[in-house]
C-alpha cells in the first residue's frame, strides 16, 4: 500500500486521538472507580460505628476531602490526576483538590485577597449554581405540596 505524505498525516491524526481518548477513559474509569470504592469502604466504616446513614455520608465526605487535601498538599493528587483525568476531577476529592490548590498557590498574595478569595475559584461557582438549583427545586417542591 502506498500513501502520499498527506494521506499518511491524515491517518495519523485519525489514529492518535482515538488511542489517547481510550487511554484517558480507562484512566478515568479506574481511578474514579477506585476513589468511589474507597468512599464505599469509608462509608461502611462509619455505618459500622453506628452512625445514621446521612451522618455516615457526611463523615465519609469529610474524610475524603481531608485525604484529598493531604494528597494535594504533598503534590500527589496532581500526579494521580495526570493518569486519572476525569476520574480525579469528578469525585468530591476533585472538588477538594480544586479548593486546596488555589488556596496554596495564592497564599503568597495574602491571606485575605489571596487565599481567602482564590480558595473559591472553582468551589464558588459549584456552590453558587448548586444552591440556586436546589432553591428553585425547593420552591417548586413547596408549590407542588400546596396543590
Amino acid at each position: 500500500m502506498s500513501l502520499s505524505s498527506d494521506e499518511y498525516k491524515k491517518m495519523g491524526e485519525k489514529a492518535v486521538p482515538k488511542t489517547k481518548s481510550i487511554r484517558n477513559l480507562t484512566g478515568a474509569f479506574l481511578i474514579g472507580g477506585a476513589i468511589c470504592a474507597l468512599g464505599q469502604f469509608i462509608l461502611n466504616f462509619y455505618l459500622d460505628l453506628g452512625l445514621s446513614t446521612p451522618f455516615a455520608g457526611t463523615a465519609c465526605s469529610i474524610t475524603l476531602v481531608g485525604i484529598s487535601a493531604l494528597l494535594t498538599g504533598f503534590g500527589v493528587y496532581d500526579k494521580i490526576a495526570k493518569f486519572g483525568g476525569g476520574g480525579t476531577l469528578v469525585p468530591i476529592t476533585g472538588f477538594a483538590n480544586a479548593v486546596v490548590s488555589p488556596a496554596m498557590e495564592f497564599k503568597s498574595e495574602g491571606f485575605i485577597l489571596g487565599l481567602g478569595v482564590k480558595i473559591f475559584t472553582i468551589a464558588g461557582p459549584v456552590i453558587v449554581y448548586g444552591i440556586l438549583a436546589s432553591v428553585i427545586y425547593g420552591i417548586i417542591y413547596w408549590i407542588m405540596g400546596l396543590l
Binding site: 470504592a37 476533585g94 488556596a103
Partner: protein, 117 residues
C-alpha cells in the same frame, strides 16, 4: 459486590467527565458546575435516589452526588419547615463537605507550598 457496584458506577460517571474534558472545551469549573446541577435535577426527577441505592458511594462520591444531597436536603426541609426549607435545606445537608473543604484547604495552604508541576 457492593464495592464492585460502587467501582463500576463511579467509574462510569467519571468517564462522562473524561468525555467532556476530551471532546469539549469546557473548563473543570464548568464541568463540576454541570455535575452538581445535573445531580440536583436528576434527584428532583426522582432518578438519582435509585442510582444511589444501587451503587452507594459510586453515586454519592461523584459531584453529581453533591447535587443529590443538596436536593435531598431541600426536600426534607421543605416537608418539615415549608418554604423556609427551600433556603435552609441544601446548605444544611452539604455543610460538612463544604466546611471540610474550607478548613482542610486553609490548613493545607498553611502547611504546604505549591509544587512545581
Amino acid at each position: 459486590m457492593e464495592y464492585l457496584k460502587a467501582f463500576a458506577v463511579g467509574g462510569l460517571i467519571c468517564c462522562i467527565g473524561q468525555i467532556l474534558i476530551d471532546r469539549t472545551k469546557l473548563t473543570p469549573a464548568r464541568i463540576l458546575v454541570g455535575f452538581v446541577v445535573s445531580g440536583v435535577i436528576l434527584s428532583a426527577l426522582g432518578l438519582y435516589e435509585p442510582l444511589a441505592e444501587f451503587a452507594g458511594a459510586g453515586a454519592t462520591v461523584p459531584l453529581s452526588g453533591f447535587g443529590h444531597t443538596l436536593a435531598k436536603g431541600v426536600r426534607a426541609s421543605v416537608a418539615d419547615n415549608g418554604i423556609l426549607g427551600a433556603f435552609t435545606g441544601g446548605l444544611s445537608a452539604t455543610a460538612g463537605g463544604i466546611t471540610a473543604a474550607i478548613v482542610f484547604g486553609f490548613i493545607a495552604a498553611l502547611l504546604f507550598d505549591p509544587k512545581d508541576k
